[in-house]
Symmetry: C4
Subunit: 321 residues, 4 copies
């Protein structure tokens, strides 16, 4: 019998039928009620948002700080800024704004310069703030740029394949990044929903793999779960599986030499992603120089095959599995 | 029988009754005698202090270095600085101070500039020092900003819950950060104090959990310690427990995808944090779109329930446990 | 019998005889078909290329951005830039180009300065872009500079050495970096090709070592694989081994105290790198002060010796092994 | 019987009596013969040297680059630099040198500015190089500043202590850094030298500890090796131990919350560091507020005690151990 797991941290009891647990991009279908500023960590926020979003925020912040300092310099009137050369074409406010720009970026051309005590002091503070603020901004730019992220190609479908006299669930994956992936470890679990009274209980099972670890991922890796007596799929009919909001949760971890860091990838297959009776077509060939050539277009490609009969199961008749 | 641990690094023999071992924020009640500059690591100090404290130090350091260089330029008199444009409104000292500001921040407007050999050389040194100094300052700002820190919501109380025919100690937690927590591992230990002659001995026990690891923490995680014959709680009365300065030390470790790093969290429950006969109310529900909604307000909420009778214990009569 | 491994992520079935799996520098003989911009991760690309390549890209990018901004300033004509001092020797286009240089690097001498509204605004944007762009450029320079990389000296040959009454495969290595290597772990596998019908099957075996881990690597480490009944070499003749495109894949992992990070090293031995009947000469001696002196020149040096007879093998007659 | 280890990576056969394996600061007594530029990794070099050494190198590099560019500007004569304001007091060479300073640091006052095409172009290149060069310099400054390093206080002596009816080897340690140390793991080995023919063989043994791991190190940790039948000390007389260049190698690893990284510490005890018949005095007390107070001065302090008789040993008479 397959051994059921306690809730692996996703939640067990639900008041209503829940949707998909994990989305294809690896995010979970969870939100937090209410907004609470104490829960916001600015770094985590800035590293997560899109580049477009990030640059708009940056530009807005830059503009607001410049405006603020422009008004401070403007308020100083005569004792604020002076110009060297003829800058009279620019109105006093914009002179202050552009001077603030020169100071915050530390470009300091000198066509505007601070004249009195106050403006000199404020300009010093602004230059210092500029250095510290740009430290965060440029740190974030590089942090986002160099952030280790996985980019895996998963086969579109999980296949039920005749294998070792019985059948097996298989899906495969390849690394899309150029850096070598090493020490790859896979954790695969199955979850489905069962109605108990007026509550829905989410069940979890670990799916045993023939091999949970590989040393290098240079071509493709086919993950194989044998549907034997220890499998939670064992003895279940296709109809039953369809009804129970089955979801296969995939978690891959590896060391990416390109980043010099570990990366994590997640994926999920639903019932409708399973193909019954198929096997994968090789996704690589050897070229005339003896080099293996991986073709990402072929990752999801399969041929249809006959499944092995399901003996030793209580639901032999109708069961595909 | 529960297996006692040797001192896990906190100290065993005490000359007097000690206070709480770990505070709620995860710091330990330990201090070091005497101050020794060789024990100070500036980076560790600057990463630990509050932002307010950090910025005040930064500002003070910035001011002191500027003052120092201002006096150097001032001491050069005529061969020190020149001004372009009319800066006569500013006194010689402040001219030197503001020029130092322009140099240290590399803003260099040019309204002040170094005139003689010495001032040019000093200004070059100052600009170089400014670049190196701001490297540390801006590095620290970004290091503090991007530093991986855990923010967990722990239930206010640890509950004694009827469970599996006997009773169990349970508490729960949720991640307050937006980044996904993965590969979470919990280490829970119990410590209490025993009087041996005129000394106090601190005893340590590991608390076995039903599950020490979860794969993802998206909603809440309830940690369950079954009070069976292997539990150090077994056969102890409530009065005994109260008397022995019981403390439950919680240590959680996980990989935070938002930071791309492992985070650590600690918490501690005292005797008075334990509620006898209660069970947690779910802290999430499923909304109309099928999405799980976590409500942090409910993390600590529980309902009172009847405990299971404590059979198989020597102190059956008075013992709650 | 030696236990065969499933494909460790390198590929099993081939349509043609493939070449060497791993090159001496640790790269794999794999390429990806087609170019797809979505597979390009700019950071991974910029960290991998040579310094020459990197600097040429940097210079080109720098020149292009400057040209772009130069044309923008030029298009503003009269309301674009002004000069302080006599810069008439420089043509208007180059004035704009040099001004752009001063702005992008934030050096801002002020001999050129923005005059009208538009040029001031564009210069502000350029200075900001310069700071962000140089954040990535300088981040990459330092990232490349500080990147943890292994530099191991492997013995040129793997030797078959008489050992413990039978024979063993041995090779050795030393760390060429000055930083101390600690907690070193070795994973050694054997792969060879077998013809099955019209397909070539690549077989994989883990090679058991006498010792897979060492604590410190200060001198040399000799890795020892005993050719006993559990070895995939057992009972194979030299001729057979030669025919089957034998390849020994070496993977070393360790903590490099100089980088404060884990490093990975890979190497591969082919059939022709194996020497039958030899043993390594010590690669270090103790000097007059009692200090061990490692001589990298001697890492590959060996003396010829007689092998032990191969009893207990079915191919006793012709087999060297 | 104690189980001997194969060489853990330090070397086994020596042509002469070698000195101490590991120094007290954790470095090994090993050097590499010959200097080979290919073995030099600049980052590892710059992170390892002293701050004094580092800053002198930095200053020298800065001076040399400035000199170089100064000569380039000087060689351009009339079409090189111009000055705004009266800089005639400075000789042409130093004008070029100071301009180079202003450019490399991007301070750019504008009292010197590039006049012709060539000088403008060179200044642009210099500013760009300055930004990239300071990226490495400032990166190294911050990298050195924030580098995780252990600072442990080890007891000056290892003690032979009566314990559990027999005797044990004990030493202790405390963390000198303010950041909390967690998940500490100790690896202790014993090495000594034996004369075999005309060669010296170095033997290695792992020393079993009562406890190899602690969760937190807040006060002191006493490491305990029981001298039972499995100990390599078992049945050896003091005279024998003295003669064999005994050395106890200590390796400690832990997660330092202050750095957010793992740290490593090494130490070594020789025969003459062992005290026969002593036990440690507690190095902390509890103050009036119930807080534990650690006193580093007391880490090495011990009281003399009587050892247990050494029964079950072949050398009962003369043996202390």
């Amino acid at each position: 019998m397959a051994e059921q797991l306690k809730d692996p941290g996703i939640g067990e009891k639900f008041n209503a039928r829940s949707g998909r647990v994990m989305n294809r991009d690896g995010t979970f279908n969870v939100r937090r009620s209410g907004f609470d500023i104490r829960r916001l960590h600015l770094f985590q926020y800035l590293i997560r948002i899109s580049w477009m979003h990030f640059f708009l925020l940056l530009l807005a912040g830059f503009a607001i700080i410049n405006l603020l300092f422009a008004f401070i310099y403007l308020s100083m009137g005569n004792t604020g800024l002076r110009t060297s050369g003829d800058m009279e074409a620019i109105s006093p406010f914009w002179q202050c704004f552009f001077f603030s720009l020169h100071t915050l970026t530390t470009v300091g051309y000198g066509n505007f310069y601070p004249y009195g005590y106050a403006s000199n002091a404020v300009a010093g503070i602004e230059a210092m703030l500029g250095l510290l603020g740009f430290a965060v901004a440029t740190g974030m730019v590089y942090g986002r740029f160099s952030r280790p992220t996985a980019k895996m190609a998963y086969s579109k479908n999980a296949l039920i394949v005749p294998y070792k006299g019985i059948n097996a669930l298989m899906f495969r994956m390849a690394n899309m990044r150029a850096g070598l992936l090493m020490e790859i470890h896979a954790d695969i679990s199955l979850t489905y929903v069962e109605k108990v009274g007026d509550q829905f209980m989410r069940r979890y099972y670990g799916l045993h793999l023939e091999r949970n670890d590989i040393i290098y991922l240079t071509l493709t890796w086919t993950l194989v779960h044998l549907i034997d007596e220890d499998s939670p799929f064992y003895g279940k009919s296709v109809g039953e599986l369809e009804d129970m909001q089955l979801e296969i949760l995939v978690k891959i971890k590896g060391y990416d030499e390109g980043f010099g860091e570990h990366i994590h990838s997640r994926y999920s297959y639903l019932f409708e992603d399973i193909v019954w009776g198929a096997k994968f077509v090789p996704a690589f060939h050897v070229d005339e120089k003896g080099m293996a050539v991986l073709d990402y277009e072929k990752i999801s490609r399969y041929d249809e095959v006959e499944l092995n009969p399901f003996t030793n199961t209580l639901k032999k008749q109708e069961a595909l599995m």
